[in-house]
């Protein structure tokens, strides 16, 4: 049934795309059926998602996907998140998000295209946008649905494993969900990330529509809210991933320059650059090509990143497990990528001449648009650095050291902060020089004071100090304007709030990465060790969890008599067949104390001094005992179970004389699963000594090492030791806070735009009612534009006044 739904969804989507195509060529009658077909495909996509979720929740393990990623013991919220635990499901999540966005996009286009108040002022912009935008959108969605058909989540286990199981076979339980994914952050990170990924298709579709129409007035106004939406959602999605890496994965950081992270970060940087270019274009009419190129590139990068992370090409370069999806998907991803890539770039090249023909006067260097443009280019440079570094393993037998990204991006980040601060003091089109330089005084003085303080307090790296200064400079300027606007209860503060957030994030990055201190520690049980100004004591482990099979490792962290308990976690996971480790973090406001467990070294009840080596037949006197190694004892040993990898025991026979009496002692080694366990034995006569066979060599000269432990001697025992990495992350809260503030800034911009649009619409319709069909607005951009510009001017005057 699922497969049928997918086929109908794919076909209706494809038909919708074809119909929209003809609608765009002038056949307006076909637009109704095109909408209908798109709706059918949306309903099918949502139904398929619901059906897959139903299969997961009802444990239909005859489906390979359900068997592969879920199991009966998972609670309902984690069951739901197994939906996107594998490739098939994450493509489905993507298609699902596209379907939801598609409904909103269609409604948006319908209302904007039929909007009289807008269309009368944009008569020059040949015809409606819906057909072309929806054509491209439906085409992309068709590709996604097609991928789901060739890599279907509805495969039965007997189709996936025809050699192993017969038709109709139903596994009793599933394989379960990777324990690393079993937490709250992993239930919300992928949906938000994929919503961001999906939304990046929309600026692409608008750019294609504008290029095909060869008309560039209206697309910008239409696309900007969607571009802002993409920037916000993708940004939040990426940072949630960072939060997961920090809090669950125990990377010790939120960012590791891993290919998977990079490949969603690069499109984000490009779409942020696009936002800037678009806003500059909106104000001044310049940077047309840049806006189009960036909108198209961002989506191509989404496809490229899908290819990088889904095709298995990075297999050796990342700690992530990349699954080879099979030849068909690999080839299809290449077709997907090259088709849309060539289409987008080709269209721009095709229109290059006509795009350039509308000559605009060159921008004044001291103008906001110049600054914004240079800023956008700098953003693209960072994107390029990360892009090249991430793609490198494809072209050579090498990977790039993560230090490369830090080294290259630091100067670029300095530029970005400095340009941002400056640009905000500049006016659009033309800035009065005197005013501009005057407005620099206060922020520069403030920056000087705070930076000097920071240098005295401990920033001794020149570049880092400059970075901090640039971020502070921009922070003061943005904060000043944001506060002024807010005091008037105006939603225009969006951009300033977003930049404020970024600058706070930059400061947080400086603190938490450059000034993070880290040390590897071995903590023997109940023994206090000092590190990083704290006293740490390992107090033993306590089991927890449903089956009591996970362990909290209790570490008391103390400083100046005040202490707190941190409980990093380790447990054996049947699923991964390995030890899972989760860090524990104390958030102390200005810094985090971060404990990442590494291993627990088991107690060794003897020291190296207790071990004595014997040759066969040799007799030695040790600790008042006479000990003779007689021979190996193979009575419990079997070659068969050895070769089958089963448990096996080998012993060594000793004659030990204590207090004049000689006893035969057999010390044994138990071998299980490649681990060797030494079985302790004692004499019949006394418990004073314990013997353990620690090493044997059977081939060649037969030797046996015996640990002889005198229990009455002062203990030199090694207690169990917890090995962990302890680190201090100063100002990490600025990273999270900055990100949240940035997202809020995006939201204010989006909300403010929507509100202004409604106001201008209301105004227009009133003025139309008054003036009839008189051409009310000559500049072709609607009333909202002027309103907006004035708003900025006002802010500027205020900024200059102070």
């Amino acid at each position: 049934m699922g497969t049928t739904i997918l086929y109908i969804g794919f076909l209706s989507c494809f038909i919708s795309a074809v119909m929209y195509f003809f609608a765009s060529r002038g056949n307006t009658k076909i637009i109704g059926p095109a909408r209908l077909m798109f709706h059918v495909s949306v309903i099918m996509t949502i139904s398929s998602a619901a059906y897959l979720l139903y299969l997961i929740i009802t444990h239909q393990f005859q489906y390979t996907y359900v068997w592969n990623y879920s199991s009966k013991d998972l609670p309902i919220n984690l069951l739901a998140s197994t939906f996107y635990a594998g490739q098939e499901g994450s493509f489905h999540l993507w298609a699902f998000m596209m379907a939801i966005l598609g409904i909103f996009l269609m409604g948006y286009l319908k209302s904007r295209d039929s909007d009289k108040s807008l269309s009368h002022s944009t008569e020059s912009d040949k015809g409606p946008y819906e057909p072309l935008v929806m054509f491209t959108f439906a085409l992309i969605q068709s590709f996604l649905l097609f991928i789901m058909i060739i890599k279907s989540p509805y495969m039965y286990v007997w189709e996936s494993f025809p050699k192993d199981v017969t038709i109709g076979f139903v596994p009793e339980d599933g394989r379960g969900l990777n324990p690393l994914l079993q937490n709250f952050w992993m239930t919300i990170h992928p949906p938000i990330l994929f919503a961001g990924f999906s939304s990046l298709a929309i600026p692409f579709c608008f750019a294609i529509a504008a290029l095909v129409k060869n008309s560039y007035n209206r697309w910008l106004k239409l696309v900007l809210p969607w571009t802002l939406f993409s920037g916000m959602v993708l940004g939040v999605g990426i940072m949630l991933g960072g939060f997961w890496a920090y809090g669950v994965l125990g990377w010790g950081g939120y960012w590791g320059w891993d290919p998977v992270e990079n490949s969603s970060f690069v499109p984000w940087i490009v779409i942020v650059a696009a936002i800037h270019s678009m806003i500059a274009e909106e104000k001044t009419g310049k940077f047309k090509k840049t806006s189009l190129l960036l909108a198209i590139t961002a989506f191509i990068l989404v496809l490229y990143s899908t290819f990088l992370t889904r095709s298995g090409v990075l297999g050796d370069a990342s700690v992530h497990s990349f699954v080879d999806p099979g030849q068909e998907v690999y080839l299809f991803l290449i077709v997907f990528l090259s088709l849309f890539g060539a289409g987008g770039i080709g269209l721009i090249l095709f229109r290059w001449k006509s795009l350039g023909s509308a000559k605009t006067e060159p921008a004044d260097i001291l103008s906001r648009e110049s600054a914004v443009f240079v800023g956008a280019i700098t953003l693209c440079a960072t994107a390029l650095v990360i892009f090249v570094g991430t793609s490198w393993p494809i072209f050579s037998k090498a990977t790039v050291d993560p230090a490369f990204y830090n080294k290259m991006n630091l100067p670029l980040a300095i530029l970005i902060a400095a340009i941002n601060g400056t640009s905000i003091l500049l006016a659009w089109k033309h800035t009065e020089e005197k005013r501009f330089f005057k407005s620099l005084y206060v922020p520069l003085i403030l920056t000087g004071i705070v930076t000097t303080t920071l240098v005295i307090l401990g920033i001794h790296d020149v570049l880092i100090a400059i970075f901090a200064a640039a971020a502070l400079f921009a922070l003061f300027i943005n904060a000043n304007i944001a506060i002024k606007i807010f005091s008037k209860n105006n939603l225009k503060a969006g951009p300033y709030v977003a930049h404020l957030g970024i600058m706070i994030l930059f400061l947080g990055i400086i603190g938490s990465s450059k000034y993070s201190e880290e040390v590897n520690l071995s903590l023997p049980l109940n023994e206090t060790k000092s590190a990083l100004d704290y006293d740490l004591t390992y107090k033993g482990a306590t089991p927890f969890g449903e089956n009591q099979d996970k362990y909290h490792f209790n570490v008391v962290v103390e400083k100046d008599g005040k202490g707190f308990l941190l409980q990093p976690v380790m447990f054996y996971s049947e699923y991964s067949q390995g030890i899972m480790k989760n860090p524990d973090i104390a958030n102390l406001g200005v810094k985090d104390v971060y404990l990442s467990p590494m291993s627990l070294e088991s107690p060794k009840s003897f020291s190296d001094n207790d071990v004595v080596a014997f040759k066969k037949g040799e007799e030695k006197e040790v600790k008042g005992l006479k000990v003779k190694f007689v021979d190996f004892d193979r009575s419990k040993f079997s070659q068969e179970s050895m070769s089958e990898g089963k448990d096996n025991t080998i012993g060594a026979e000793f004659e030990i004389t204590y207090d004049g009496k000689t006893e035969k002692v057999i010390a044994e080694q138990l071998m299980t699963n490649g681990n060797t366990e030494n079985v302790p034995v004692t004499l019949k006569a006394t418990d004073k000594y314990t013997f353990m066979l620690t090493h044997i060599a059977i081939a060649g000269e037969s030797t046996a090492d015996l640990a002889i432990i005198d229990e009455s001697a002062p203990s030199v025992q090694n207690p169990e030791t917890l090995v962990l990495t302890a680190s201090i992350k100063p100002f990490i809260n600025l990273v999270w806070g900055g990100t949240i503030i940035m997202a809020l800034g995006f939201f204010f911009s989006l909300y403010g735009r929507a509100k202004r649009f409604k106001q201008s619409q209301a105004k227009e319709s009133r003025s139309i009612a008054k003036n009839g069909n008189e051409n009310g607005n000559g500049n072709g951009n609607g009333n909202g534009h002027n309103h907006h510009k004035n708003g900025h001017k006002k802010v500027h005057e205020e900024a200059h006044k102070q």
Partner: protein, 130 residues
């Protein structure tokens, strides 16, 4: 060409040159122990753990020491700054990142490649029968 274009091109050229140098410095190649011994650059070596030699964690130095065989079967003592890597015992291959010094390979990082558990295999499905 006006001054703006020239400045722009100049900046791009500087950026590319700096990028190139920093890149060639950060380029960590896959190689074997023999090549790693001759040049003392940071590199990564793929190979497998020699199971019959000792593999132990030294709590005093916080180092994990094991022996590794590269793809040419050259054996080398690897000193990892840190604890026993994840899934070390069951890894089918390991990748050590670091450099040679005094006849030992000092690793900053050791990645373990495990038999993919991400997707089930035929033998797994047989086990989950009723």
């Amino acid at each position: 060409m006006n001054a703006k274009t020239i400045t722009g091109i100049l900046i791009i050229v500087i950026f590319l040159v700096v990028g190139f140098f920093s890149f060639s410095e950060s380029n960590i190649e896959y190689t074997n122990f023999q090549n790693a011994s001759s040049n003392h650059k940071t590199c990564q070596v793929k190979g497998s753990w020699v199971k019959d030699k000792e593999a132990k964690f030294d709590a005093n130095t916080n180092e994990f020491i094991f022996y590794m065989k590269d793809e040419n079967n050259t054996e080398m003592k690897v000193v990892l700054a840190g604890a026993r890597p994840n899934n070390f015992e069951m890894a089918e291959s390991v990748v050590a990142k670091g450099k040679m010094k005094d006849g030992n390979f000092y690793a900053k990082e050791v990645l373990t490649k495990c038999p993919s558990k991400y997707e089930g295999k035929g033998e797994d499905i047989q086990k989950s029968g009723i």
